[in-house]
């Protein structure tokens, strides 16, 4: 199936009835993994990510220990039943890359220097995948880190933006992800206004990127308000 064969925009609306710059419905929950130090579930439409945080805890084998500060380990994993064709379980090239991308998106906000020789482990499980899984995972991981009491500079919020046909869109779902002209995964520190992840696939011109950045920042701020809301609700 060639790109653009499916009509993704009908009368200015997307296949799921959303406007170009509209987020899917978002649900967030804290404390879904009771044995973890902190955990969260985030749902973007049909995409569900569960994140669990353990630590700071002792790091073994010993050669991995860093005297200058702790290390962050992230494992992103898709459940075999998360996609329509069964995904063979276990790490593959894609999930190893995404694990690293999530780690790099979270590392700048965590005060790792306070925990020399220790590790913080983040596990991101995708239970249901319908596009934008890595940004959903980042949102869940950030909530889980906060509820585990990890010292952080700021929260991290993330969303995806892209382009179908000539239209710039926000929060891609599965079909849009596979058939778009371009898509960007974007993570952002909402109160510091700093970008921690910017990953693009496809072709865009400078003006489009500038516009998408604005759209993504606004969306991230909305997501941040939701994160605030769910935490306030839990500890009220």
């Amino acid at each position: 199936m060639a790109k653009g064969e499916i009509k993704l925009m009908v009368n200015g609306k997307r296949l799921d009835g959303r406007l170009p710059e509209q987020l899917r419905d978002i649900e967030m929950k804290l404390g879904v993994v009771s044995r973890a130090d902190g955990s969260a579930m985030v749902r973007f439409g049909n995409t569900i990510a569960v994140a669990a945080v353990y630590g700071p805890r002792e790091l073994y084998p010993r050669y991995l220990q860093e005297s200058r500060g702790g290390i962050l380990r992230v494992r992103y994993n898709m459940a075999p039943f998360s996609v329509t064709d069964r995904k063979s379980p276990g790490p593959d090239r894609r999930s190893v890359e995404i694990s690293k991308v999530i780690r790099l998106a979270l590392e700048p906000v965590i005060f790792l220097g306070e925990f020399p020789k220790a590790t913080i482990d983040v596990f991101v499980e995708i239970l249901q995948a319908d596009g934008s899984t890595r940004v959903t995972g980042i949102n869940a991981a950030s909530l889980a880190l906060a509820s585990a009491g990890i010292p952080m500079k700021d929260m991290v919020t993330a969303c995806s933006v892209g382009k179908i046909g000539d239209t710039l869109i926000l929060d891609l779902n599965g079909i849009e992800d596979n058939n778009s002209e371009a898509d960007i995964s974007f993570a952002f520190m909402p109160s510091k206004e700093k970008v921690t992840l910017f990953q693009m696939d496809g072709n865009l011109i400078t003006e489009e990127i500038k516009r998408l950045l604005e759209v993504a920042k606004d969306a991230c701020k909305k997501i941040y308000e939701m994160q605030k809301g769910v935490i306030r609700e839990k500890y009220r």
Partner: protein, 220 residues
């Protein structure tokens, strides 16, 4: 009964520095102070800090903690202190008398599995931890049971000037030791009741009127 309290997320602005000390759970950029952890902000006359809701125990000098001896070394003991870092108890800090290590088996003083009430005596920058038995009140704890709670809830379990813990001790006639590292040691006949009370405090630490609730629970 829940009072509305202010809660800050990491990265939220707490206030201006104005020459004050930036304490636990906060950091500053220029003159502005931000929260570092999720918790309740405390802005006082000379210090700004955040009381966290969660987190592991990070040792600080002077903390009274409960440790479990994990192994016996040549001239000291390794102690598990419920933290990402293990602590070392040197022979000289553990025993008052002179001990000739070439002739004595020091497991006679403390052996693996023993529970000790000790003080954090040394913390280096890269978190090498040393504990000591030299302080007043430090001792080996015989028998009893151990309950682990979140280290951030220990001040609530102790209560203002020890009010909560003294109620628990008095009503259950239990011997109770609380360590800053989130380990509570209990001994006595009514320990089941005391444990229930402690776990209730941990679970409902953020609610108002907890002391009355615990008194009620214990008088049942």
């Amino acid at each position: 009964m829940n009072e509305k309290r202010e809660i800050v997320l990491p990265g939220e602005l707490i206030g201006e520095k104005l020459g004050r000390k930036v304490g636990f759970g906060a950091y500053f950029e220029g003159e502005r102070v931000f929260a570092k952890v999720l918790g309740i902000p405390r802005v006082e006359e000379n210090e700004i800090s955040v009381i966290p809701f969660a987190g592991v125990y990070i040792p600080r000098i002077g903390d009274k903690i409960i440790g479990i001896i994990s192994s016996v070394e040549v001239s000291g003991w390794m102690v598990d202190i419920n933290s990402p870092y293990a602590a070392f108890l040197p022979l000289s800090e553990g025993v008052r008398e002179f001990v000739d290590t070439s002739r004595t088996d020091i497991s006679g003083f403390f052996d693996a599995g023993d529970v000790i009430f000790c003080t954090v005596s040394k913390v280096t920058k890269n978190k090498t931890i040393q504990v000591s038995m030299r302080d007043i009140g430090n001792k080996k704890l015989y028998g009893g049971v151990i309950v682990k709670v979140s280290p951030n809830k220990i001040p609530r379990i102790i209560g203002r000037a020890g009010s909560m813990i003294s109620i628990i001790k008095e009503r259950t006639k239990c011997e109770v030791y609380t360590g800053r590292n989130g380990v509570v040691w209990l001994k006595g006949e009514n320990k089941a009741k005391a444990i229930a009370a402690i776990l209730t405090v941990e679970k409902e630490s953020h609610t108002v009127g907890l002391t009355e609730k615990i008194e009620k629970l214990l008088s049942e």
